[in-house]
């Protein structure tokens, strides 16, 4: 073996070991969610289910209403993603293309808020929601998150690179400003929009503390709250815990495997453009 081949083999071995460390917890979780409770606590433990069963899934679906939480998470993430995508694109376009008084100051404000730790804002925001009477309603989850600094920044960076001649030509043809945005700028920004959309969807899917504080009715809960509730079953119903985790994690993983190119390239893009 030449030195070069030996290096390749060594690298492959080390990276494969790392890949095992990454993948085994996922496999263990999925396999465990098909094991009956007695098998989960048996010693020595099994890795593959000896008597596979769907009972755990049935229990989380009926006793902890995971189906409902999943539906709530799904539509909430969809609504939030679409709204924030639109406001990010609109504000990003504003900062990328227009000149107006106070523009630098306003953009500075948008960026500065990214540096503020969430505990600083969440306390007064809670008080705000009490004043507005929004506690217990989805309005409290949607309205205060309607604009996103990271989203505005990312769209501005992307749109600043769009060819200005296209926009100017459309103006000459008599297109309205909002028409240019909808018909020319948005379609041209598809790559950035889809990358940001993935981010926003994942963020909403994973958003825990704010919904946990704001939602009061069991029927309104979202998946991360369901997970926190599962933790209460920790000592009694192991199977339900695994099934609930699988239901939260596996859909994301499946979507990721299919769309991984746009996931990864979007993330690399956001980092390099800094």
């Amino acid at each position: 073996m030449t030195a070069h081949v030996r290096t390749q083999v060594a690298l492959l071995l080390v990276l494969s070991l790392g890949a095992v460390v990454i993948l085994v917890p996922f496999a263990w979780m999925v396999l465990s969610s098909f094991k009956p409770n007695v098998e989960l606590v048996q010693l020595p433990p099994s890795f593959f289910p000896e008597e596979p069963t769907f009972a755990n899934f049935v229990r989380v679906w009926t006793e902890i209403a995971f189906g409902r939480y999943m539906w709530n998470s799904l539509w909430l993430a969809t609504v939030r993603t679409l709204l924030v995508l639109y406001t990010s694109a609109l504000a990003g376009y504003l900062f990328a293309v227009y000149d107006f008084r106070g523009k630098r100051l306003l953009f500075g404000l948008v960026l500065a808020t990214m540096m503020v730790p969430w505990p600083v804002t969440i306390i007064a925001q809670y008080q705000q929601m009490l004043w507005f009477g929004w506690v217990g309603s989805y309005v409290a989850l949607i309205v205060p998150t309607l604009m996103n600094s990271f989203g505005i920044f990312m769209m501005r960076q992307f749109m600043a690179g769009l060819p200005r001649e296209l926009i100017d030509a459309a103006r000459v043809d008599g297109a309205s400003e909002i028409g240019i945005f909808h018909r020319i700028v948005l379609p041209l920004s598809r790559a950035a929009v889809s990358a940001l959309g993935i981010f926003l969807f994942l963020w909403s899917w994973d958003d825990f503390l704010w919904p946990y504080l704001m939602l009061l009715d069991d029927a309104d809960y979202v998946l991360p709250i369901g997970i926190a509730l599962l933790q209460g079953r920790y000592e009694v119903d192991f199977g339900a815990v695994f099934a609930g985790m699988s239901l939260t994690i596996v859909p994301v993983v499946i979507v990721y495997v299919f769309l991984q190119r746009s996931f990864i390239e979007g993330i690399a893009f956001s980092g390099i453009k800094e």
Binding site: T7, L12, F26, T113, P119, L202, P224, M245, Y256, A268
Partner: protein, 277 residues
Amino acid sequence: MPVAIGVLAFYLTFMVFPIAYSLVGSFFDWRPLQGRFDFHGLKHYRELLSDPAFYRGMRINLTFMAGVVIARTVIGLAIALAIASLRFGVQFFRTVYFLPVVAPMIAISLLWTWIYDPNYGLANQALTLIGLPTLRWLRDPDLALLGIMVMTVWKEVGYAVVIFLAALAGVPRSLYEAATIDGANAWNRFVHVTLPSIRPATAFIVVTSIITYLQTFGQIFIMTRGGPGTSTTTTVYQIYDEAFVLFDFGTAAALSMLLFVVVGVVTIVTFVFGRRS
């Protein structure tokens, strides 16, 4: 200009106002559930700064941040370098290492609570398999914080890998060739060509990680609730506890302002330090 006005109105209402109100509220006896908001002066700050629990919380907060930032950056770069040197399988490994990044943190935290279970968890099964004594992981005050740090690095190192891979792909090959002609060995090429070329990516990872991991909450809430004892009670967890368990918003606001100062100082120091080196 209605868009500009909309952006301004939103940021004033939902960002600037809450920040200002938290600052003001930190000088008040502020208990929203009783509708109380009485001026207290510096009382919260005086109490916090003379409380050993405050310093312990900060120390745990900073330890967690430093450990995760260093491990994520160093391991992330090592994995990226290894993947970048491969002849094939680049895409496969990139996809695998990035997988935990997209998985939801709250569910992954619960999964790792299980992995660390002393009786039935994977961690102890793995230790037994290689003939080592088992550990009590999250139930052990000396190991709990480390356990959450390991889990966090496991979940989020892939992000650094992807950023570093993109940066490494941008290093001009001619630089390496020139260095090789000048007689530089692999280590010299890494120090004098690779590291300076990927500095913007490194700075990006380090700074965003510092800001993120000074504010970590979800994993701690799910995995230990600040325990055992106070071994994982970070300042952020204390803020949660004061605000949303005790509903003492005044103390929580003062704590969050102190955290804000620490985040600001650490970020500025990192920038200055990064500029100089």
